[in-house]
Symmetry: C2
Subunit: 84 residues, 2 copies
Amino acid sequence: MDSIMRVTVYIKIKPEVLDPQGTAIARALSDLGFAGINKVRQGKIIEIDLDKTNAIKAVSDTESMCERLLANTIIEDYSISIGE
Amino acid sequence: MDSIMRVTVYIKIKPEVLDPQGTAIARALSDLGFAGINKVRQGKIIEIDLDKTNAIKAVSDTESMCERLLANTIIEDYSISIGE
């Protein structure tokens, strides 16, 4: 039986917050000659392999991981998905 | 008519490559008392809003953006999805 449960966390900067990294990427892409770049936003993906547990506990544990460490909830939003 | 096409790029470190950031996150989570953490891997999400174009051109442009700037293809894999 598969003894690992993978949880994936997507962390994105809140829409109303400036994203200097995204702005720098957009400028660099335009400088390389890519046309039609309107906006670029950069975020993080964090894949966590947990000991097998039930999905509800995995999500609630991961939420507290986000609140306590993984996301800066003042400027970032996060979402959690179970499995690949 | 919606004049923007959003392309999302997921960039992950290749499985065979060490991920020091992921290792540091795993240790920090354990230090905070979270049990059952087996492995943590961190990657990037890049959302690009392009002028409306056809999906094939959007994907091929984004692939060359990844090859030329967004991904370090020696140690990273990338995948592209169209839309939200």
